[in-house]
């Protein structure tokens, strides 16, 4: 299946939009209600981080297939300030904005694959995958 949806994140409403796009796609690919909720929530976390910390960016959601069968890949990408210490932000409860600090570590627990790349002054890319089973 060739399905790619891109949502640019510029305002807090775009976070809602990205979330809706994710839910639609998850539903269409045949994910159950529990996984739909996990995927939607993960996209919510990542796009909100873009809005909060980078200002603008984009979320690309697509259907993928691999060794583990069919699934969904989400890439959240920005050209914001970047993250100086990835290990730190992946710890539960670490936040620079008085948030809960559970967004990134929580997202990692909600999905099957999680990868974060960041460069200070250049931006951040988070890629997550969820497989149908």
């Amino acid at each position: 299946m060739k399905e790619v949806k891109e949502t640019s994140i510029k305002s807090s409403e775009d976070v809602i939009l990205a979330r809706q796009v994710a839910r639609e796609m998850a539903k269409k690919l045949g994910f159950g209600l529990a996984d739909q909720t996990r995927i939607t929530t993960a996209v919510s976390e990542l796009s909100r981080n873009i809005y909060l910390y980078a200002g603008t960016g984009r979320v690309v959601i697509k259907a993928v297939s691999g060794d583990s069968g069919k699934g969904m890949e989400i890439v959240a990408e920005d050209n914001g300030p970047g993250i100086p210490d990835i290990e730190m932000v992946m710890q539960d409860g670490y936040s620079t904005s008085k948030g809960l600090g559970q967004g990134l570590p929580g997202t990692k627990r909600l999905v099957d694959e999680f990868e974060i790349k960041s460069k200070v002054g250049a931006g951040t890319i988070v890629t997550i995958k969820k497989w149908l089973r």
Binding site: S12, I16, A34, R48, L100, G103, L110
Partner: protein
């Protein structure tokens, strides 16, 4: 292409403007968009006539290729406005681009009549004009997509702005039924009105029902936690209701700790608990 042929096309456009307009309006009236009654006959006439006038003006100088040139500014803008407004009244993408594409056949037919003895000129003119209309159709389509996005944004805004009433269901019991996305600005306003109501109604129980909230991420969870903490400081206990099994599970995965607060699956269960805590009993009347 030879300059002469280009001026031929513009010439025909100018000369036959009225004829083209009449045929075009007739063709459009047969299209499904019009049949569905999305626009009136008068609108169709006005919009078509305005567009054709602008087109005649734009091609007058002989430029039928570069629609980014200044003489096309007016027509591009007017097309964009038209598509945006059509997107908002429910035209589909194809119905919207058909406005332009339906002109192609009509013009080709007119050209055929004009140049029926000169096949070369006919073919060339036809190609050039079809090309121009394609470019304008793309402008239309792009504007349409932007228009749809605008509509979606507006709808979401109105969802966000849905007022959230705080309902006093019984002495000392408030219910806050949350519906839609409880993001940022709206969440703050909800929290304030709840705290205010606790004071004015002297309530000691608050039921926050999130049955209608589509997603609970860490931001929403933290708003809920803070609201319940603030309510507690004001002497009211909160009961969080309407957590679907999926949302409860997701909250646990996220690592959000709701253990300090009472949760119930349904609003009904929450209300029953509130009654019990206030030592109220609902019984069936006898007889």
């Amino acid at each position: 292409m030879a300059k002469k042929e280009v001026s031929n096309i513009s010439g025909v456009l100018v000369k036959k403007e009225k004829e083209i307009l009449d045929a075009w309006i007739k063709a459009q009236a047969d299209l499904p968009a019009f049949q569905k009654g999305l626009i009136t006959a008068k609108q169709l006439e006005e919009e078509s006539s305005r567009f054709l006038k602008l087109l005649v003006k734009a091609v007058a100088g002989g430029n039928l290729e570069d629609i980014t040139a200044p003489e096309y500014d007016e027509i591009n803008k007017s097309l964009a406005d038209l598509s945006t407004s059509r997107a908002s009244i429910g035209f589909s993408p194809s119905e919207t681009t058909n406005f332009i594409l339906s002109l192609r056949q009509i013009f080709i037919r007119i050209l055929q009549k004009e140049f029926d003895d000169r096949l070369d000129t006919l073919v060339n003119a036809g190609l050039v004009f079809a090309d121009l209309l394609d470019k304008l159709a793309i402008v239309t389509f792009e504007a349409y997509v932007k228009g749809r996005e605008e509509v979606i944004r507006e709808q979401q805004k109105s969802m966000l702005e849905l007022s959230t009433p705080v309902i006093q269901v019984w002495d000392e019991i408030l219910i806050l039924p949350l519906i839609g996305s409880v993001d940022s600005a709206r969440a703050k306003q909800i929290m304030e009105s709840l705290l205010e109501s606790i004071v004015t109604t002297k309530s000691s129980m608050v039921i926050i029902d999130i049955t209608g909230v589509p997603a609970v991420d860490t931001e929403v969870a933290s708003r809920l936690l803070r609201t319940m903490q603030a309510a507690r400081l004001m002497g009211a206990e909160s009961i969080l209701t309407g957590l679907s099994p999926q949302i409860s599970q997701t909250i646990v995965h996220l690592g959000v700790d709701l253990s300090g607060f009472v949760t119930r699956a349904s609003l009904r269960d929450g209300l029953e608990l509130a009654f019990r805590k206030l030592k109220l009993k609902v019984t069936k009347a006898e007889g």
